[in-house]
Symmetry: C2
Subunit: 363 residues, 2 copies
């Protein structure tokens, strides 16, 4: 079933179109956006092999001139060097201010393409065609773009809103199961921070760890309710002046875990799952959340086949140290998002290091 | 005499403070801007040797913690690689969202520091302390930031407004005369595109080619009227949707000349001077401007000791080709800013290649 969710922003509003088979209508969907003729499609080898030609055919049918840039897959390649490759293709093909970059891929491709679009000629058009669950419900929405610094994730970036986010749920059929589960971490996050109804629907499902075992109504609900949650929060706080920080639930510890494991061992969604478990324990320790609700959260995380323990051998002191490099640090204080009940969270920088240490040691 | 010019923008307004001896009050001037404690000062070796310690002392007295990053001097170093060095210092010193990058130098330092500030943690505070005439009257004002691509100038960048532009005219005393003259090109530009009164004052002066030979009232007027012109235009069109394009007068051919000479042989201001001469001839060829006024313009350019001829050996066809890579290209058409009278210009993309070729051959 096709749904459209509007992201309302002061400067620019845009649609998230959720439509089975939508990939073949990409060109058509972009035709109404008053874009120039040139399109630079950015993808990775795996996704391009599955869906590249269909995307290009659809764009060409709609009259766009398409060039493409295929970048290696994985968080390890979300670097200034990969960005340089996008710029090189842009200069070779003379992309203009009216031209458009299209990201066909997961969060890594989306973040890099968005940052390239934000900074090419000081900002050109940009369309997101997310192909992973994680990118569909999170990374592709909200205009956060960027690349990693060797010492920290997403340290280099910009806010740059897409003109359209096109979600074709059918492409999830080729998504590896581990990637699907990683996306479920962000879905569970929306349940905990914003949407108790979504949380209840997830609890009601027998399976959360493989799309084939889940009802199609649930997949619809997961996409629509998660995108709506993200759109609601981003519409209220585009540049993360306040409310938007709640989307970082699970990300404080999560980013540190990713950073210390070199962005390869642990997927972003897996790190967020670990981070949510940690944040839940911290909230319980601080008397903000009940033991019973944190267990309900952890049960969902387990049902989704996601990790609830720290990676074996992770250095806890180095993890605490790594928190200091996160973007969310203010005046040296680490900000945490902590639940107070299912669907409600609070942002605080009043978490003693000893509490963090104790919780991490218990995991 | 101290003057303050306000740049009024929808999202953020800021002051251009023109104050002799202002460098020693940098920290004080920043104290009212609600900035975090950490400051990353970016400069080049020459400027840092002259003014670095005074800037740092002033910042420290006002309570800021200062670290610095010294980058090699020159347009050739305005690259992603230099940017990477700023990021490295930022990560080492844990710059936060409330931290500030201060650019102490000319346009190259200002553009790179601004872009680093625009993209570090998706945007942190930024203060411009321009030390060249060109940066004072042009580059430091208006929020255009960025680096060069090997195949084109400023192709990678962002709009990011400073919180303050602090201009201390006394630092011009150590500016090499060739750099001073290069800055005069942009001053003359304001006379031609916007401020006939400024043009008249420049005509009235016996010398324009060395600060020591010019009246201090004229220097004041040059700084205040140029900054005011830039502030007026930028306030009306922050993101270059329309009017702001007039600031590119002389820059269409100018950028091509810089690009083809590898950004080393010809200074930006010198290239703009050549570009203004070319644009003037084109305007005359197209019947838009009088021969007499273009000669008055060229006389000022000569009086400022600036070039009015193409660099010896420049490939004219390559120059015309290079125009196509400029940011100002739209649907393959090159945009020119052409004068219609002193103080008034028009933007057009209706310049036949043959006219450009003929004018360049005549130079």
């Amino acid at each position: 079933m096709a749904s459209t969710i509007k992201v309302n922003l002061p400067q620019q509003s845009y649609d998230i179109a959720i439509a089975p088979g939508g990939l073949d209508r990409l060109g058509e969907s972009m035709a109404g956006l008053k874009l120039g003729k040139k399109v630079l499609l950015v993808s990775n080898p795996t996704v391009f092999q599955h869906y590249g030609q269909r995307a290009i055919a659809s764009l060409q049918t709609a009259g766009f001139e398409v060039v493409s840039c295929i970048l290696p897959d994985g968080e390890n390649y979300k670097t200034l060097e990969s960005l340089q490759k996008i710029y090189d293709v842009a200069v070779e093909n003379r992309l203009e201010r009216s031209s458009t970059m299209v990201a066909l891929g997961g969060g890594v491709i989306g973040d890099m393409t968005g940052f390239a679009a934000a900074t090419w000629l000081r900002g050109i058009n940009f369309v997101q065609v997310p192909t992973t669950l994680l990118a569909m419900v999170d990374a592709a929405i909200g205009g956060k773009t960027g690349v990693n610094h060797p010492q920290g994730k997403n340290l280099i970036g910009a806010f740059h809103q897409p003109g359209l986010v096109l979600i074709d749920p059918e492409v999830l059929q080729t998504l590896p199961v581990r990637e699907f589960r990683a996306g479920m971490a962000e879905v569970i996050k929306y349940g905990v921070i914003w949407d108790a109804q979504l949380f209840a629907e997830l609890e009601a499902s027998q399976h959360l760890d493989a799309m084939g075992d889940m009802k199609s109504e649930l997949i619809d609900s997961i996409l629509v309710r998660s995108c709506q949650a993200k759109a609601d929060v981003v519409s209220k706080d585009e540049k993360e002046a306040g409310l938007r920080a709640i989307l970082n639930y699970g990300h404080t510890i999560g980013h540190a875990v990713e950073s210390l494991t070199g962005y390869t061992q642990v997927l972003h969604g897996e790190a967020v799952a670990i981070g949510m478990v940690a944040a839940g324990h911290i909230a319980v320790e601080l008397g903000m959340w009940t033991q019973q609700e944190t267990e309900r959260q952890n049960a969902l995380i387990e049902k989704a086949g996601l990790p609830t323990k720290l990676p074996v051998g992770l250095d806890i002191e180095a993890t605490i140290e790594a928190l200091q490099i996160d973007k969310k640090v203010k005046a040296g204080k680490v900000r945490f998002v902590l639940p107070t009940q299912i669907g409600v969270v609070k942002v605080t920088d009043q978490v003693p290091s000893d509490t963090i240490r104790q919780v991490l040691r218990g995991m």
